[in-house]
């Protein structure tokens, strides 16, 4: 009987210690997951901002702004503009391309996607930005006045809402907002008023 009690006691003590270890380890694991989630999300947001900024900057390359409009269409969640820059190959081309940045709901569990399309085709992997919940774009003219007229647009203020499921509770997604201002840099250079 004494032996049985000793065994039971040791099992209980051992199990308690193991449970403590597991609990502690799970806490560490959660912390690591949060760090990883945060840093990877920052990285993702950073890349998204860089890609969108780059695409905006290349708008109007080779397009004589006095002859043609650079921006063709613009709404809260979509913009269409022209450029001779081949965003697919990331090089200058002889053809005028139409570049579109739009929010698409492809039915992914992870959320919506910002698609960057060149002449109707998604540029991969640059133009497939995931974990997006919403995008809101406001446009400005050369004098930095708000405008909705596509022909006047040379910059955009973009509010991106990223959404990603929590590592532990998928019913409580974590949202991060990012606001950036993107310029049609190459169009700006052409419009530079130096007199």
């Amino acid at each position: 009987m004494g032996v049985l009690l000793d065994v039971l006691g040791s099992v209980i003590i051992g199990a308690t210690l193991l449970l403590m270890m597991i609990t502690f380890t799970l806490q560490v694991q959660e912390t690591a997951a949060r760090i990883y989630y945060t840093s990877s999300m920052i990285d993702h947001m950073d890349n998204a901002a860089r890609n969108i900024n780059h695409i905006f900057a290349m708008a109007g390359v080779g397009v004589a702004i006095d002859d043609k409009d650079i921006c063709l269409e613009a709404s809260d969640s979509r913009i269409l503009f022209q450029t001779y820059w081949d965003c697919e190959g990331d090089t200058l081309s002889n053809d005028l391309h139409e570049i579109e940045i739009t929010l698409a709901d492809l039915g992914y569990a992870d959320g919506k996607v910002i698609e960057i399309r060149q002449d109707g085709s998604v540029i991969m992997p640059l133009g497939h930005i995931q974990y997006i919940e919403d995008i809101d774009m406001n446009y400005f003219d050369f004098d930095d006045n708000a405008t909705t007229t596509p022909a006047d647009i040379v910059s955009a203020e973009i509010l991106l809402t990223f959404r990603r499921d929590s590592p532990w509770r998928s019913d409580q997604p974590l949202r991060s907002n990012l606001q950036l201002k993107c310029f049609f840099m190459n169009a700006y250079l052409q419009k530079g008023n130096w007199e």
């Binding site: 597991i22 380890t25 694991q29 990883y36 920052i42 990285d43 250079l189 052409q190 130096w194």
Partner: protein, 457 residues
């Protein structure tokens, strides 16, 4: 019982191991993400810097001549490849720089390719910029536009003279091929590289300002440059180089603070110096000798003081004068006197690098019924003189003199020529009057945005 305990322990151990593996993978991934993020930030900055430097290289016609072979027709390019570690900045290596002309000087392109590497993480970044020939005057094939950069090394001019070979020509970057000819004695080369002290106290060749790696020395004794009034190259205009109704004169210079004192080669010349740019009016008429069509020169008013006067002069067609004179204090010690009294000689003082380059600009224009002269120092307007009536500047048939007044020796001695004692860089003339903003851009070495075809960075 023992079996149950074993199963329990194995179960617990498996769970524990699974959790540990997940921790490891999560934690191990964090540094890579952070490092990539850091590298991306760093490589962005490095890429901008390298592209800027490469564009700066592209501003020098001589640099291009030295690396681009062949005629500037069609697509030609030069690629500088570097080994890893050869051009390292921080954690980034410059892998290659590509300079290319596409069909004409109006389509010039620079591409940079950079690699970043840190703790096993590697990122790459390409940047490129295409532009028309960058400086306002460079590549401009129009009459009365000349731009001398003094980037060419004129080695042992005196030796070439013996063999009757002209090794004294300085190229004109405007495309007009006006060329400047160096006169006087220089033992090695009148143009010298610009050196600065780096952070480990070594002298390194550097850009001294205004897009230039070399400058030209004027010894205040017999050094000067002439530019003949030739016809511009490949221009339909048949008029030779001349002043007109609208033009700009400009140069960067460091005027020696103390002036040239008595030395082995000459007497005290402190009050006989200071001509920067001089376009004569009538070279053969005595009373027009000191009336330049256009000129910028410094006048020593007190041989023991760095203070003096800076003059900007235009002689109008009716022989009247527009003049702006300002008080000006020289700042740089450029030449170093070695030796004692009249037995001394002069050499360039390397410490001149600590003094900034000053720029001097003159614009002349006729508009709104007036003839207007505007004077600039360091891209800032310092004075203006005007006269009613739109008159052109006095016609000139004698080109330009840099570093001394162009005076006819029948009427004047050499002392009257006021040789320049200092160093100079980037001097020239444009056929239109720069706006104050353009003059500031030129001084700051900033490219006009409208010259940029596109940037990808």
């Amino acid at each position: 019982m023992g079996r149950a305990s074993l199963v329990f322990v194995i179960l617990m151990t498996s769970i524990f191991a699974g959790v540990l593996v997940r921790i490891q993978s999560n934690i191990a991934g964090v540094p890579d993400v952070l490092i990539r993020n850091q590298l991306n930030k760093e490589i962005e900055n490095i890429s901008d810097y390298v592209l800027r430097a490469a564009v700066r290289n592209a501003n020098s016609q001589d640099f291009l001549d030295s690396v681009l072979n062949g005629e500037i027709v069609g697509q030609i390019s030069h690629i500088q490849n570097f080994d890893i570690g050869e051009r390292r900045i921080g954690n980034c290596d410059v892998l290659s720089l590509e300079y290319s002309y596409a069909h004409s000087q109006d389509h010039y392109k620079v591409k940079s390719h950079i690699r970043g590497f840190l703790q096993g993480v590697e990122v790459f970044r390409d940047a490129e910029m295409a532009f028309s020939f960058p400086m306002v005057t460079l590549g401009t094939v129009a009459p009365n536009v000349v731009y001398l950069e003094f980037e060419r090394m004129l080695l042992l001019t005196w030796l070439f003279d013996i063999f009757n070979i002209n090794n004294r020509l300085l190229p004109d970057s405007s495309g007009n091929d006006y060329e400047g000819e160096f006169h006087g004695f220089s033992f090695i080369s009148p143009t010298a590289p610009y050196f600065v002290q780096d952070n480990i106290d070594d002298e390194v060749e550097s850009w001294g300002g205004a897009y230039s790696k070399r400058y030209i020395k004027f010894n205040g004794l017999d050094n000067y440059i002439t530019m003949d009034n030739k016809l511009p190259l490949e221009s339909e205009d048949e008029e030779a180089f001349d002043t007109d109704n609208d033009f700009s004169l400009m140069c960067f210079a460091k005027i020696d603070k103390t002036g040239r004192r008595a030395s082995l080669l000459s007497g005290d010349r402190r009050d006989q110096q200071g001509t920067l740019l001089w376009i004569p009016s009538e070279y053969n008429v005595s009373d027009m000798q000191h009336k330049p069509s256009a000129a910028i020169y410094f006048e020593t008013t007190n041989t023991s003081s760095a203070k003096g006067k800076m003059h900007y002069v235009i002689t109008l067609e009716d022989e009247s004068e527009l003049r702006v004179t300002i008080n000006y204090t020289r700042q740089a010690v450029v030449w170093r006197r070695i030796g004692i009294s009249f037995l001394s000689v002069y050499s360039i003082d390397p410490n001149h690098a600590q003094y900034p380059w000053n720029s001097y600009g003159l614009t002349f224009e006729t508009k709104n019924g007036k003839s207007i002269l505007t004077a600039y120092v360091d891209g800032v307007q310092v004075g203006q003189a005007q006269k009613d009536g739109e008159q052109r500047a006095y016609p000139s048939k004698y080109g330009m003199s840099i570093g001394r007044k162009a005076l006819n020796s029948s009427f004047h001695s050499d002392d009257d020529r006021k040789y320049f004692f200092g160093i100079m860089d980037q001097s020239g003339m444009d056929d239109r009057a720069f706006t104050p903003y353009e003059m500031k851009l030129w001084h700051d070495g900033v490219m006009k945005s409208s010259l940029v075809q596109y940037i990808k960075d």
